[in-house]
């Protein structure tokens, strides 16, 4: 530990990290790449929501035809009642194997539920595309040198992580706003308050998953000084961690011979904790949330230890 280390140094590090994070966010929001990807967040949400609304409408028309009743022009009116029926609760309970979880899922407004599913599914891809080169690009261009002569590598890298996390939250929030607008304009029986609350919750949960992936891709970004290599590593991490988890979960070769070992390794994969974010009881959700934060932070710190030992 350096002689300057101590509470004052730690405070200075936190201050610097916040300064870097603010600059990173402002800087990222003014690049074409970030704007394009933010647009992708929104466009993805809009396209998926529009598709969802369309399917909902088709479903209700079919149901109306079957029941020989008048169909509604605005989707959602029939679905709302359907979702509240005990039969649907039984069906979903059977599907997820947990009646409490089914109750929770059916209490979520359909559009918010759908947004949550989309956000949780695609946030890793968006994070890998937007953030994997955040550190390597600055090291490659030399821009990092202007900052690293003024602050510690830890504060700088943590600021980059925080800045990218804020960028991700902005993207998720923009997608949620787009979803809200679609719901308000194109579905009947849309409860603005309930939807707003649930969209915010979904944003929070997706942000946790996104943070875990950010930790991984920014950890990898500290291993190289080449932008393209960092991007490649980011995308490869998605494939490797996704494939690795699928292999440990489903491959008969491992399930038949070393299921216990595989099960003990599965918590190390981000994807293993996503399903628990849907749990109605916060005491069941909390371990998953803690694990996501821990996994992201651990991956980031592992990459940072390497970054600290090499030239910037």
């Amino acid at each position: 530990m350096s002689p300057g280390a101590g509470p004052a140094a730690a405070m200075s590090g936190v201050r610097d990290a916040l300064v870097v994070a603010g600059f990173e966010l402002r800087s990222a929001l003014r690049t074409r790449k970030a704007l394009l990807l933010l647009l992708l967040y929104v466009a993805g949400a809009v396209a998926a929501d529009a598709g969802f609304v369309h399917i909902l409408q088709a479903f209700e028309r079919t149901a109306a035809d079957t029941l020989s009743v008048a169909a509604t022009d605005t989707p959602g009116a029939m679905t709302g009642r359907l979702m509240a029926s005990p039969q649907v609760l039984d069906m979903v309970g059977e599907l997820v194997g947990d009646r409490a979880l089914a109750t929770q899922l059916l209490a979520i407004p359909p559009l918010a539920l759908f947004y949550g599913w989309v956000a949780l599914s695609f946030v890793p891809v968006l994070v890998a595309l937007t953030s994997s080169d955040a550190i390597a690009a600055d090291v490659e261009s030399g821009a990092a040198r202007y900052a690293l002569v003024r602050t510690g590598r830890g504060a700088w890298a943590a600021g980059k992580l925080l800045g990218q996390a804020l960028l991700m939250v902005v993207g998720l929030g923009a997608g949620a706003v787009a979803t809200f607008i679609i719901g308000l304009g194109w579905t009947r029986g849309f409860d603005p308050v309930a939807n707003l609350v649930w969209l915010a919750r979904m944003c929070g949960r997706a942000s946790l998953v996104g943070y875990a992936w950010l930790g991984v891709v920014l950890g990898l970004s500290q291993l190289t000084r080449h932008t393209n290599r960092a991007r490649l590593l980011g995308v490869m991490s998605l494939v490797a961690l996704g494939g690795g988890r699928a292999f440990l979960s489903h491959a008969s070769v491992i399930r038949d011979r070393a299921a216990a070992v595989a099960d003990s390794l599965l918590p190390l994969f981000i994807g293993s904790h996503v399903i628990d974010l849907w749990q109605p009881d916060w005491r069941l959700r909390l371990p998953a949330m803690v694990m996501l934060v821990a996994l992201g932070t651990a991956a980031f710190v592992a990459g940072h230890r390497f970054f600290c030992r090499r030239d910037a």
């Binding site: 200075s12 300064v19 800087s27 003014r30 821009a143 040198r145 900052a147 030992r309 030239d311």
Partner: protein
């Protein structure tokens, strides 16, 4: 030990088989503008990178501002760096980027803004504060880069090729800008333009193959403080003047049409001239030019005539 801004001992660094620094020793006194002179590959950029904590040395010690090797916490806000060939964030306005570096230098938001505005004014870019760095010309970016190195008034400023790519009139402005900092901070500046360094610096370090080959004040190294070179018209019997000069207590050497005259140690150039010129005028010597010491370029070339042995590869 003298009050040093920078003290380096036995610094070594290699990149694969290439030896960048081979046991570099150097001292930079506080408050000087120090020129780092050397050919490409001499190790100037690596030295600056190590001093600023960006490059890890293989061996050796660096003492920055008398407080050990660079530590971002211990030296927070006290070191400024203009790295070579490094891009600044292109998507944000100049003023905002400078203010950001000011904030990291330890300034408050308002102080950083004010410092950024003042420095942009000093580098003639006040009217570009709202323009994105990506939209500036190369010369303008270079000036912004110099401004960022000076923001927050650091005690030690490292400038790697600050005038590279600048128009001649901007080089003069840059020189004036650095001179305003003389005595307020220590500036180490590397450049290939020796005339530029000669006009700006008061201390010089020559580097060759990762080592320091000569170092000292500009006056000492070029002989300005004790030597006068007199250019005479061709055809004059210059050696005939030597006995008269020796009679006046001066040492004189003839180099073609030039007389290299050295006075007693400790005597300034003015006193030397007071002894020398009457002798020459009395002898009716046709004087073309009188110059205090050699130029930095001539000093550098002379030092290169006997370069140190190269590092052993491998």
């Amino acid at each position: 030990m003298a009050d040093l801004a920078l003290r380096i001992r036995g610094l070594r660094r290699r990149y694969g088989a290439t030896v960048a620094l081979d046991g570099l020793d150097l001292d930079v006194p506080r408050g000087v503008i120090c020129g780092l002179v050397g050919p490409n590959g001499a190790g100037k950029t690596t030295t600056m990178g190590i001093v600023a904590g960006l490059i890890r040395p293989d061996a050796g010690t660096v003492d920055v501002l008398g407080e050990g090797p660079f530590d971002p916490t211990r030296h927070a806000g006290r070191v400024g760096l203009l790295p070579q060939d490094c891009a600044m964030p292109a998507s944000l306005p100049v003023g905002e980027v400078l203010a950001y570096y000011g904030r990291l230098q330890g300034l408050s938001t308002s102080m950083a803004r004010r410092a950024a505005d003042r420095l942009l004014d000093e580098v003639d870019l006040a009217d570009r504060a709202g323009q994105r760095i990506g939209q500036l010309s190369h010369g303008m970016r270079r000036r912004v880069a110099v401004a960022q190195a000076l923001i927050g008034d650091p005690e030690l400023v490292l400038l790697d090729e600050p005038t590279s790519g600048l128009d001649p009139h901007l080089v003069v402005r840059m020189r004036a800008l650095l001179r305003t900092r003389r005595g307020r901070c220590t500036i180490v500046v590397s450049s290939h333009i020796l005339a530029e360094l000669e006009a700006t610096c008061d201390h010089v370090i020559f580097m060759e193959r990762g080592r320091c080959t000569a170092a000292g004040s500009m006056a000492e190294l070029t002989g300005r403080s004790r030597q006068v070179i007199v250019e005479l018209e061709p055809g004059l019997d210059a050696p005939a003047l030597v006995p008269s000069l020796q009679g006046a207590g001066l040492r004189a050497q003839v180099d073609g049409t030039r007389l290299v005259v050295t006075g007693p140690t400790g005597e300034g150039t003015a006193a030397l001239n007071a002894r020398l010129l009457p002798v020459l005028l009395a002898a009716g010597a046709p004087i073309v030019e009188v110059q205090a010491g050699r130029s930095l370029e001539a000093t550098w070339m002379a030092s290169r005539a006997d370069p140190p042995p190269g590092p052993k590869p491998g």
